[in-house]
Symmetry: C2
Amino acid sequence: MQIGELARSTGVKIETIRYYEREHLLPLPQRTEGNYRLYSPRHVEQLRFIRYCRSLDMSLEEVRLLIEARDAPAGSCLTVNALLDEKIAEVDARVNELHKLQDQLRQLRGLCRQPDQGEICGILAELNRCTESRKPVV
Amino acid sequence: MQIGELARSTGVKIETIRYYEREHLLPLPQRTEGNYRLYSPRHVEQLRFIRYCRSLDMSLEEVRLLIEARDAPAGSCLTVNALLDEKIAEVDARVNELHKLQDQLRQLRGLCRQPDQGEICGILAELNRCTESRKPVV
DNA sequence: TGAAAAGCCTGAAGTGGCTTCAGGGTCAAG
DNA sequence: CTTGACCCTGAAGCCACTTCAGGCTTTTCA
């Protein structure tokens, strides 16, 4: 299976596949006489593994850890649990941040409901106000 | 006011200030005889403006737009409103994604509550399962 | 048979929003 | 006069890719 077919069957771009190879996340494939990469079902699995982990917001470094753990499963539970716990905490924190951001954005948006009436837009006024060392209303 | 004081009084790193200058987000400051940057209160305001926008998750490109709008406020309401609406939609979408991710991560984490019992960790088993072309349980 | 089109190759540079590093120059205090 | 705090520049590093330039291989079709 050539790189194009691997790309189609996994939905991963060719360039990304080559990038993973350079990063040693995918084992080196065989080559044809014309120097084309030749992939095995093993590669398909590994690529899917990487993409599933990435869809869970893991960094490539974390994916590397998980691949190690997967290839030597004994005793790796603690590592994997710790990784997931950390990730869950990160995502929780990020969601909280974004909720606050949503409030701020909506309040700011509320300062100018009408299209331009000639006077200065309430949003710009507020953004400007925040450049002085007073606290934002929003 | 030298760059160090500007940095202290705004909480922005010196390197970041120089970076904003390179990116034309901050006007070029005067220089002393010894080639040190000299900032005015105008620069302090502008830098605060940038950081406030950044705290609202605006990209530097968007900040550039807002600076333009701020400096020519007439008729800029529509631009500013559109930018905010887009930003609000983006953040909403991201929050939804993260909520789904949280569910996934927590379910995955639930597959291995105990430290290593010798058998293969349920999490790794599930991650592996997802490398085959079946749908994930989680 | 021959040429175009589709597919593949490599290495380097670009993305955003900074941060870090190497290798200096300037200036006030002791 | 030297130490140390402060400042300067230009280049490279970070992440996870993406894009680009320039060229090779294989297939397809006239």
